[in-house]
Symmetry: C2
Subunit: 173 residues, 2 copies
């Protein structure tokens, strides 16, 4: 069932050059982003393999598991900066867990009662709260640099949380 | 603190071409892999942006959060195959949580008492158990295709779990 991927990997490994980089993030960076297939986290930050630890889950959320990865990256793997990169048109934004559960029931006959999907109806507030959750983690140093961003899947632009908040305020004033 | 990355993103977005792909995984694939900076999940499987959902956490472990992402990917985002890709020289393998906590204490002065890091002293057994955890999830269909692999960070090769188990058995017999 995976022959296509294993064939592709044979071609990849034939050309593969062991760069000799270690598991340490060369640019001291960890990026937490979404599983969305349109996001190429290294490319959009101008990075190369070896530069950064990449953590990905649905919605780019600071879950207990994402924090586990950040704590390991910071304390053992040379990370000093963390970027949380959510994105536009995220399937987890502008909907609710109840709506997703209803869709799963209707479209797939799946009973997701009790499941938390971590949807958001206010992306900027969610992103801000998630960044605070990293900052509040007692296993991370007070001087850890943490940034929040939204990646525009149509323009390729990365916009900082505070710039977005300002734009949003201007629009509604 | 993020000017270098934002500058790099400005260059990226100037060249960015909106491919028009949606959030659906074009090849119906989800890949769960580690945060390790040496892993380029799309490239090593011969894929392009848009083909697959990428989930990443420390150790490529099937945590509650990883399962949340898999459940969303399968039930709402067109995923029919899941690859779990652990790797050689993983900082989470061949060590214990107690050892990592001791290292954090010694190197960083951090008290990680009570934290679970999900280390493994038997990578193949861990990978097999994690695949079973996906298979046992009641929100996933019985015919979901699930594969376990270990990526060799030096050769670029992806080896299937069962091939590795056979090799391991031959070595010890």
């Amino acid at each position: 069932m995976f022959d296509d991927l294993l064939d592709a990997n044979r071609r990849y490994s034939r050309e593969f050059h062991d760069s000799g980089v270690a598991g340490i993030a060369a640019k001291g960076l960890a990026v937490l982003t979404c599983i969305d297939s349109r996001i190429d986290p290294l490319a959009l930050l101008g990075l190369r393999a070896g530069d950064a630890k990449i953590i990905r889950n649905a919605g780019a959320r600071v879950t207990e598991d994402a924090l586990r990865s950040v704590v390991l990256a910071v304390n053992l793997l040379g990370v000093t900066r963390v970027c949380v990169v959510q994105h536009t048109e995220c399937a987890m934004v502008g909907t609710t867990d109840a709506q997703l559960r209803a869709r799963m029931k209707a479209e797939r006959g799946v009973d997701a009662a009790g499941w938390k999907f971590l949807t958001s109806t206010d992306q900027l507030a969610t992103l801000r709260a998630d960044i605070e959750a990293i900052r509040a983690c007692p296993l991370l140093p007070a001087d850890l640099t943490i940034g929040g961003f939204v990646f525009d899947v149509h323009s390729g632009e990365l916009v900082e949380l505070e710039s977005l908040a300002t734009m949003r305020a201007d629009e509604t004033s």
